[in-house]
Amino acid sequence: MKSFWKKGEPFIWLTGGALSVTLLMAAVLIIVVLVNGLGVFWPSRVATAKLHDGGAVMGEVVRSEPVFEGEGERLQFKIGNRELYGLDFRWVDNSDISSLEYADDSVVLERMEYGNFYGRFVGLNAESLATTTLQDPWQQLRQAHEHVMQQKKQLDAIDDQLADASRRMESSQRKEKLLLYKGRQPSDPEIVSLKQQQDALQGDFHRLLEQQSEQVSRLRAYTASFADVSGTERVMPLIDLVRFYKPNTMSVFSKVRYYLVRLAELFFGSPRESNTEGGLFPAIFGTVMLIFVMSLFSFPLGVLAAIYLREYAREGLVVRLVRIAVNNLAGIPSIVYGIFGLAFFVYGIGGSIDRMFFPEQLPNPTFGTGGILWASLTLSLLTVPVVIVATEEALGAIPNGVREGSLALGATKFQTLTRILLPMASPGIMTGLILAMARAAGEVAPLMITGVVKIAPALPVDGTFPFLHLDRKFMHLGFHIYDIGFQSPNVEAAKPMVFVTTLLLVLIVLVMSSVAIYLRNKMKKRYTYGTF
């Protein structure tokens, strides 16, 4: 027994156990996210439950659990039809159900508003019927819907024109404000011409709005009626339908197709229904751009600072203190950075920019409000210690002989740095960047007060001059998770989206890290000593 302890057998078990626990926890996390996230878009069958009391429930069976008191189970149905029932979900005791069946004619509608509808298709109205040439009612619905969607594209064009007009209006008003601020009289010819321009734009605006509402009311005339499980019929404009399908009769192939369509919508579509449905494109874009802009600031700053600290600064008390301070910076809670970012970047720098360059806009802020630039700067402040520490370590790991070898050949310190040391340290620096990016991708708290919003009206990059709008507010996957998970009015219905968003965020970090790791390994092969 004594030798058992002496050999350190328990220690091996202890260390191995610690590693397994860590791996297990990480694996469970990933598996939970995967299981919950991947299945969201798979169309599940719609059940119709007849109850003993004569009622009926229709919807997707989400889960079952033991009844709290007594025996048996109860099932949770996603019943949808929010405008009819008020709630999306309903618990039904198994003992209350007389029969559970999956009717072929059950229809699921995905709608622009009020969530899913579960019921049966009844028929099209006369206007809709006029657009179709087919016989089968279900195919007729499909064709009519397609027709309406085609027409809707004109509506999108009007939307674009409206946005354009409002942008021009804004810029004209800005010019006017600026002139007034400079002390011009309202009777000044330039201001008068601006006023005229605004009036013309106003006219355009109204004309477009009228066109739009006319179009909408025309399109809304195409309707179809559906009946819920209790037989209540509802007439719905086709334009409000996003997608409709009969899950109980779908083949595996069409289910896969449906899944891919939903996936494409996720990646490239915009959110709707206060973010609980639709796509995540603005949030994905915001997240990636945030990390990118953050790297643009923190990477050079961190590397340069580390070079000074390691290569130029004279080793001593001050350098040691700076090093301790840098390490401590990495441990400060991120919300503190957020508050600092708000005070320093947003109100301090942004406010100064506003006072200096956009005084006519005040009190409306231009840069003095949260935006992707300020959020990126705040995050780069947060991640710069990581880059500094990694770069310092990478430089420190280079054998001194290499430095001396270069200097002994008559190289300056700068030449040694750029030609020998930085290439050799690049894998380590890349590691730092990976860690920094991963940390930045996961931060939400500091963003919430420096520029993230629930729904951003426009992306930070678009087709209007100057194309890159770093002052704009943006959406972010991490905040999205928090928002739909905890701030949404219908948390239960938003839950699948929470998992999907989480999965996506993990995926983005994974993809970005993989690219960085691939680059790092390529560098490693080139620059490190294999023989020492």
């Binding site: 054998p399 002989g401 001396e404 070898g405 200097l407 002994a408 190289a411």
Partner: protein, 260 residues
Amino acid sequence: MSETHSVMVTDPIVQVKNLDFYYGTSKALHNISLDFPRNQVTALIGPSGCGKSTLLRCLNRMNDLVDVARVEGSILLDGTEVNTQEMDVIELRRRVGMVFQKSNPFPKTIYENVVYGLRIAGVRDKTVLDETVERSLRNAALWDEVKDRLHESALGMSGGQMQRLCIARAIAVNPEVVLMDEPCSALDPKSTARVEELISELREKYTIIIVTHNMQQAARVSDYTAFLFEGVMVEFGITEALFVKPRYKQTEDYITGRFG
């Protein structure tokens, strides 16, 4: 030190006069005076910590890199004072090359290693670079072994080859003096023999100052030998004379292996 510790050198290239060296408050070299003869191999021998390497690193001012180091006294390279603020260290190091104990090739190709000194000096002419590579590698007795893989990484070479590459790299910039700090201490006997052979060949073109622990090596390759002990230069003379008939007991004790 009186003149009796040393022999007269008629054509010195490096002259060290009354050199004191301090690491912080501790004195590592005491009043060293020594003339290094041109186009000869001079060996610095002595027990560990006697200051041989420190003296060597004073000659191309590598000690500048040590924050706490301080040098007092005079070092003349061809009559020019080295140990002043005005001296261009870059220029000095180009004239006084160095090979280190541990071979330190850069993580670049063999070709780029050799032309590094030229590149940082701003030479871009491809023919000059090519010629230099061939000449230096030939002089370093490495050409035949690596001529077919000049553009492969230098890190794939054997230890002996790497050290010869470092020698080639040092002589590529045509220095006047080549300092060697125990160049064979990490090499096997076969590689050592090759490097020693190389040193003998190089003496025609360059002045070589070599620090070595190995007294047989000093006897084999050097023309002159200086024996240092505890920061003091005990004896300097023609190698044969010093080894056959040392004038001081300390020298005799050391070379006969009684200590050190």
